[in-house]
């Protein structure tokens, strides 16, 4: 390998391993996410130019941090900021110097970064993308595609959020104990949104976020590492692990969609299920019930089919009753109706579904898919046909589309 290639690899490794930690460190001190990102990008760029000539430094992170803070100081001078900002920057310089000379790793402040990204003052539509960009370093094109948004518009949304953080002076701090829980909810919601809420049996079609599932799990793990004793953090990761355990079983060999109740349990990943169960049990011992623990418990009840042979739908329906009380989302209400349909019969399931307000469901695909399924079971074929057609017309996932075509053909 040439020196150039070695250096290039080293920059890549450093970027992957410590980009978000360096960013959190710099942003927490400047309170300016965009400026910290620019400075860090410059530092990586400088590394690409310098390291092939001078060799990879002993402490690549310290080297990058030093360059980035120089850039920040230059930028501040350029903008002729007030002396107090310059003083802040000198503090960073001193702190970075001290950290590197002591040889200790600089503190991991990514949790602060996550709390900032999910701050209530930030546009809710920007929170997940902001977290994916700053904490995981995903590029704009990928984020925009996953959320079905024009890349330029996503770029503006993110810039606006970063300006808001700077101009509103949102503090890079982990909230006090009293405020921590409500703020943590927003962080968890954000990770959950990244994972996608379409993993329910009936919903199954929401593939918009599927490509981000692995990243969301990574965020969940990071969150657990930073806040190991919070039951809802454990619950969220358990939920995602249960769903991930079934990833392969959701598609047949030919790519066809397989609903949860028909999945081959031998294709489920046992290490993932066991890890999820362990986390969920730890969470439940805390005695603090929460939305994500309930969602994980629902997935745990489904996982038990592998041992029991059948699904305890009454148990699933009861858990959904609890979930819609804590988090009455349209998705949860539809999944609850599906569980009631299995536990108590199609009449009861249809009654629960029909109670949903018309304006929330008229272009919500999972509603029409479940309506079609229940009406078919009720032998109301003409209405079922209309519902299947509507579900098909609203469907963006080819595998789900084929599944619905097969179901409709049985009418």
């Amino acid at each position: 390998m040439t020196a150039d290639l070695i250096a290039r690899r080293s920059v890549e490794v450093a970027a992957r391993a410590s980009r978000s930690r360096l960013l959190a460190f710099l942003a927490a001190r400047t309170r300016d996410l965009a400026a910290a990102e620019d400075a860090l990008a410059d530092a990586f760029h400088a590394a690409l130019e310098t390291w092939p000539r001078s060799g990879v430094p002993d402490k690549p992170e310290a080297w990058l941090l030093t360059v980035a803070r120089h850039r920040l100081i230059d930028a501040a001078r350029h903008a002729r900021v007030q002396t107090d900002a310059a003083a802040d920057l000198l503090v960073i310089a001193a702190e970075a110097q001290e950290l590197t000379s002591l040889g200790t790793a600089f503190p991991d402040e990514r949790l602060k970064l996550m709390f900032i990204c999910a701050h209530p003052a930030i546009d809710i539509a920007a929170r997940t993308p902001l977290m994916l960009q700053t904490v995981l370093g995903l590029d704009l094109a990928r984020i925009a595609s996953a959320f079905l948004v024009q890349p330029a518009a996503m770029g503006q949304r993110l810039s606006r959020a970063k300006r808001k953080i700077r101009d509103a002076g949102i503090g890079f701090e982990i909230p006090e104990a009293r405020e921590l829980l409500p703020r943590l909810d927003a962080v968890l919601e954000t990770v959950y949104a990244a994972y996608g809420s379409g993993w329910d049996d009936v919903a199954g079609s929401d593939n918009l976020h599927k490509g981000l599932a692995a990243e969301a799990v990574e965020l969940g793990r990071l969150l657990l590492a930073l806040l190991p004793a919070k039951p809802e953090v454990q619950g969220l990761l358990a939920l995602m692990q249960h769903c991930e355990a079934r990833r392969d079983a959701r598609r047949a060999a030919d790519g066809a969609y397989v609903p949860l109740s028909e999945q081959d349990v031998t294709r489920w990943s046992w290490p993932q299920i066991e890890a999820a169960e362990k986390l969920l049990h730890t969470a439940q011992r805390s005695g603090q019930v929460g939305r994500f623990q309930l969602e994980a418990a629902i997935q745990s009840a489904h996982a038990r089919r592998a041992v029991a042979g059948t699904t305890d739908w009454a148990c699933v329906a009861t858990l959904y009753d609890g979930l819609v009380k804590l988090a009455p989302t349209t998705g949860a209400q539809i999944a609850r109706a599906a569980a009631i349909g299995e536990a108590q019969g199609a009449v009861a399931g249809w009654a629960a579904l029909a109670a949903l307000p018309a304006e929330t469901i008229h272009s919500y695909q999972p509603y029409w898919a479940l309506a079609a399924h229940l009406l078919k079971r009720l032998q109301r074929a003409p209405e079922a046909r209309v519902a299947y057609e509507r579900a098909l017309g609203l469907c963006a996932d080819p595998a789900m589309r084929e599944f619905l075509v097969r179901q409709a053909a049985e009418l």
Binding site: L148, V149, L208, E389, G393, C395, A396, R401
Partner: protein
């Protein structure tokens, strides 16, 4: 806001409309039919139409004040306009959602563009 959702299609894409394989042909037409129905019943539909294939097109252009009527579409490119929908939705994100629901087909590209508001409107 009003947007137009345009479907640009390759010759292979156009050919599926009359595919000799009845299964393929029917699947194509029912996919499109369901989409049209859903878009209409969701209350966002303003108008739209499927278009006959590009070989049926005729172009009128002017060169040195002289009118030229020519056979064929205006540009000789691989993907040609196959149909369009005009929808009224709150924003571009909602329009993109409808674009994503348009039945997928190899060689089909969907373009979404805002409609120019009427002058003085």
């Amino acid at each position: 806001m009003q947007y137009v959702i345009m479907s640009f299609e390759t010759p292979e894409c156009f050919a599926v409309r009359n595919d000799p394989d009845a299964k393929k042909r029917d699947a194509f037409w029912s996919d499109v039919g369901h989409y049209i129905k859903a878009i209409k019943e969701s209350g966002v539909f303003i108008g739209g139409a499927g278009l006959q294939p590009p070989e049926t097109a005729t172009t009128v252009r002017y060169r040195n004040e002289q009118r030229l009527v020519q056979d064929g579409p205006y540009a000789d490119i691989k993907e040609q306009l196959g149909g369009f929908f005009i929808i009224d939705v709150p924003d571009l994100d909602a329009a993109l959602e409808w674009a994503a629901r348009f039945p997928r087909q190899p060689g089909r590209v969907i373009e979404v563009r805002p409609i120019l508001p009427e002058p003085g409107g």
